[in-house]
């Protein structure tokens, strides 16, 4: 049903936070099974875009469709199909990891056997065994991130929205998450993934979207972006800096060292 249309479609999205422009007439389509990376400097609109895609903020104008469903008109249906991890997720710190996941599973409508099996497997895969009886408040940033990721994939979503999902993760867990995103994509899960780590973006994502001031600055595969920047064979960092017009890095470093 969704194969012919984009799994995620943002059309002319504009979002104002008071006088501040968060998104500026942004249009982006992500096909089913694709892993899309969102790149951009701080404040470029990555988190705002992801929040718009799950319906946590209402765009000032424009529309968002996920799996053909209008996010504003059918928020419940969209949230049933989507898993979301925000940047620096604030979880229910007074719950243990097991209780938190149990809560998510109940709300997502998982049956007893299914949730028991899924929670047990996720806790084992992300190395949280022995810690699941402790309240989340005592967890490290990385452990909280793991719990948030578990909560997002617990119900086998069709679309995953991940805002800096590798923040604070140890190398093993980061690798697990990267492999997981790949495996989910093979199963047809669409992922929109924001990150500052360009190597990871290049390694994981099928296509990249570079945002600047709430607009799409460039879009394509890593190779297409290199060609666009006129830097074939260069690292993605150089491509990113050139496309975003970042100048004078050396001057800034010199000023900091003074």
């Amino acid at each position: 049903m969704y194969e012919s249309s984009p799994a995620v479609a943002a059309e002319h999205l504009t979002k104002f936070y008071g006088p501040v422009l968060g998104l500026n007439d942004l249009t982006m389509n992500v096909v089913p099974g694709e892993i899309r990376g969102l790149l951009g400097q701080n404040g470029s609109g990555k988190s705002t875009l992801l929040k718009s895609l799950i319906g946590l903020i209402r765009p000032t104008s424009g529309s968002v469709k996920v799996l053909g469903l209008d996010v504003q008109r059918a928020p419940m249906e969209v949230r049933r199909a989507v898993g979301y991890v925000p940047e620096s997720p604030r979880l229910y710190e007074f719950l243990t990891a097991a209780e938190y996941l149990d809560f998510i599973a109940d709300v997502r409508g998982l049956g007893y056997e299914e949730k028991k099996e899924r929670i047990g497997r996720l806790i084992e895969a992300l190395d949280l065994e022995g810690k699941q009886g402790e309240t989340i408040s005592g967890y490290s940033q990385g452990m909280k991130q793991k719990v948030a990721i578990m909560g997002a994939i617990l119900h086998r979503p069709k679309v995953l929205l991940l805002d800096e999902p590798l923040n604070g993760l140890d190398p093993k867990s980061a690798r697990v998450v990267k492999e997981l995103v790949h495996s989910l994509a093979k199963d047809g899960v669409t992922t929109v993934f924001s990150t500052h780590i360009l190597e990871i973006a290049e390694a994981i994502c099928d296509r990249l979207t570079i945002l600047q001031n709430g607009r799409v600055l460039a879009e394509g595969s890593a190779r297409e972006l290199r060609d666009k920047a006129g830097l074939p064979g260069s690292g993605l960092e150089d491509v990113f800096l050139k496309l975003t017009g970042t100048k004078g890095v050396e001057d800034i470093v010199e000023a900091l060292m003074r």
Binding site: R90, T96, D102, A105, G133, E134, T135, S137, G138
Partner: protein, 553 residues
């Protein structure tokens, strides 16, 4: 001890108190100025002067005898020091109870190079100065009373003793703070549900005690005891400031001097104890609790037989865990239990109980049920008002899940009502046991109480969803000041509307002699309550939906 660090740190603590209690309507630039507190103090001092002068004029015009006036001066002057100690201790205590564990464990004090003595004295100074306007008002009130009744010397002593009392109360909080930190640490190591239940009970008992202390009744009783039998109370240090004043008023200069010195000594001992405890026992409260057996997932709840969905049950379960495990929320859950006690207490003991001529059983139980319902209703209202704001920065969790606004509203009302019902049932059980309320009446009032709780919870949620305060500060409030005021006013109006049929019953029965049925009036009251519950529920859905669609940053 570095004096400049002490003063700077005291200022930071004071600003922190001001901003987290007046944040929503006072700008930061204004709260950055400690002089603001002094200005408030001056205004209250002048207000106190006027009130004190009015008090003297009133007694003079009423033709009070000199012995009566002496008794009044004794009560006011003797009462002030003990009141000041209690006030400062309570304010510090409430400040502690309001603190979120999350912010406490990341408090700068845990890693900044501030010595125990600098911390204790800075915090004592900060508590004393922050709430000093009350002392200014009290001294302003006492000044004309002292001067116009020829007790100028006693007034001068009162000023000095009030300062000592202020520091006694403030430094007492420092002792408590260290002990609570130690206890929290020990409890957290034990972990589990026993710890959670102990903490809830502890908070409820502490709040109950402090509320009783401020009912006024207790202070009057203490003063009567002191005046009546000094020998029995001189061994209690907390009474020494009061005894220094009452001795002077009784023209016993030597005793007054001794008690004044003892008061000062008491403060110094407390300061030493606070320093020692801070240095020896201070440990950061561990941020996490351990629950054995909580790694297993929950089974099918029996509540589903009542028609509740799995989502509703999951939400209510989450609310209960939040209310019992988050220190800053535990105090809110205690409100529906404490308020009935606060409100019924004066009814039971006013006028002050005599030595047995009027046993409690002679009080009409019906008279107790009214205040009890009022207290439970207000408790449910406040709990409802804070229930949305306490989601704080965690709102994205429910925002990104397929949960409808109506389900959230229902579960919040259900949880608030559940806690309110605990207060109601406890109160009614006590009324049945002590004041012989009939079982039938108890059941009837349980029904009415449920309607009151549902109506006030729904109203609280309707207000709280419109005026939520999501800021996760060190002392979160969860509802804006505007919301609190509006909610309180509407809550009282709603209570009057629910009481309407009962008032009609009283007028018909007592004034007009019409045989109007009590039970019929209560039935109507219940129906009014249910009607407003439905209105509150319906009017909460829209704002909650709005919040879910535009999660605050």
């Amino acid at each position: 001890m570095r004096l400049h660090v002490l003063l700077k740190f005291a200022k930071i603590l004071m600003i922190s108190r001001m901003r987290s209690t007046r944040r929503s309507f006072v700008t930061n630039s204004l709260t950055n100025r400690p002089i603001l507190i002094a200005l408030i103090g001056v205004v209250l001092f002048v207000g106190g002067l006027v009130a004190g002068e009015a008090t003297v004029s009133f007694f003079a015009s009423a033709g009070a005898s000199s012995s009566s006036i002496s008794q009044i001066v004794l009560t006011i002057y003797g009462g002030l020091p003990i009141f000041v100690i209690g006030f400062f201790f309570t304010m510090g205590l409430l400040w502690e109870l309001n603190a979120s564990s999350e912010s406490e464990s990341t408090d700068a004090i845990n890693w900044l190079p501030i010595s125990p003595s600098e911390y204790v004295f800075a915090s004592t100074l900060s508590t004393s100065y922050t709430y000093s306007p009350l002392v200014a008002a009290a001294i302003g009130y006492a000044l004309p009373i002292g001067v116009l009744t020829g007790n100028g010397l006693a007034f001068l002593l009162l000023v000095a003793i009030s300062l000592v009392a202020t520091f006694i109360g403030s430094v007492g909080v420092e002792i408590l703070r260290s002990l609570l930190a130690r206890a929290s640490s020990a409890f957290s190591k034990v972990g589990g549900r026993v710890m959670v239940v102990s903490r809830v009970l502890g908070v409820v008992l502490i709040l109950l005690f402090t509320q009783l202390l401020f009912s006024g009744f207790l202070i009057v009783r203490v003063i009567s005891t002191l005046v009546g039998d000094i020998a029995a109370t001189i061994a209690v240090p907390i009474f020494w400031p009061t005894l220094s004043i009452t001795s002077l008023l009784a023209s016993n200069l030597l005793a007054s001097a001794i008690f004044s010195l003892l008061s000062l000594g008491f403060f110094l001992v407390l300061a030493y104890v606070a320093l020692s405890l801070r240095a020896r026992f201070w440990v950061t409260t561990p941020p996490s609790l351990h629950f054995s057996g909580s790694s297993s997932v929950s089974g099918v709840s029996r509540l589903r037989k009542l028609g509740l969905s799995t989502t509703s049950i999951a939400l209510v379960r989450r609310e209960i865990r939040s209310a019992t495990r988050r220190k800053e929320v535990v105090r809110l859950m205690a409100i529906p239990i404490i308020l009935p006690v606060m409100i019924t207490f004066p009814v039971i003991f006013s006028p002050a109980p005599s030595s047995g001529s009027s046993p409690p059983s002679q009080i009409s139980p019906i008279l107790l049920v009214g205040p009890l319902l009022f207290g439970v209703g207000l408790g449910a209202l406040f709990l409802g008002m804070t229930s949305i704001g306490q989601e704080g920065k965690r709102l994205w969790n429910i925002g990104s899940l397929p949960i409808g606004a109506s389900t959230i509203v229902k579960s919040k009302i259900m949880f608030t009502s559940l806690i309110g019902m605990i207060g109601l049932i406890l109160g009614l059980a006590l009324t049945v046991a002590i004041f012989h309320l009939s079982i039938l009446d108890a059941f009837t009032f349980t029904g009415i109480g449920l309607a009151v709780i549902l109506a006030e919870s729904s109203l609280g949620l309707a207000v709280g969803s419109r005026y939520p305060d999501f800021s996760d500060g060190p002392r979160p409030r969860f509802v804006t000041i505007t919301g609190s005021i509006l909610g309180s006013v509407l809550g009282i109006i709603l209570m009057i509307l629910i009481s309407g049929p009962f008032i009609v019953f009283l007028i018909a029965r007592l004034l007009l002699g019409i045989p109007f049925s009590l039970y019929l009036s209560l039935l109507f009251s219940g129906l009014v309550g249910l009607l407003f519950s439905w209105i509150g529920y319906k009017t909460s859905i829209g704002p909650v939906e709005g919040i879910l669609r535009e999660i605050p940053n």
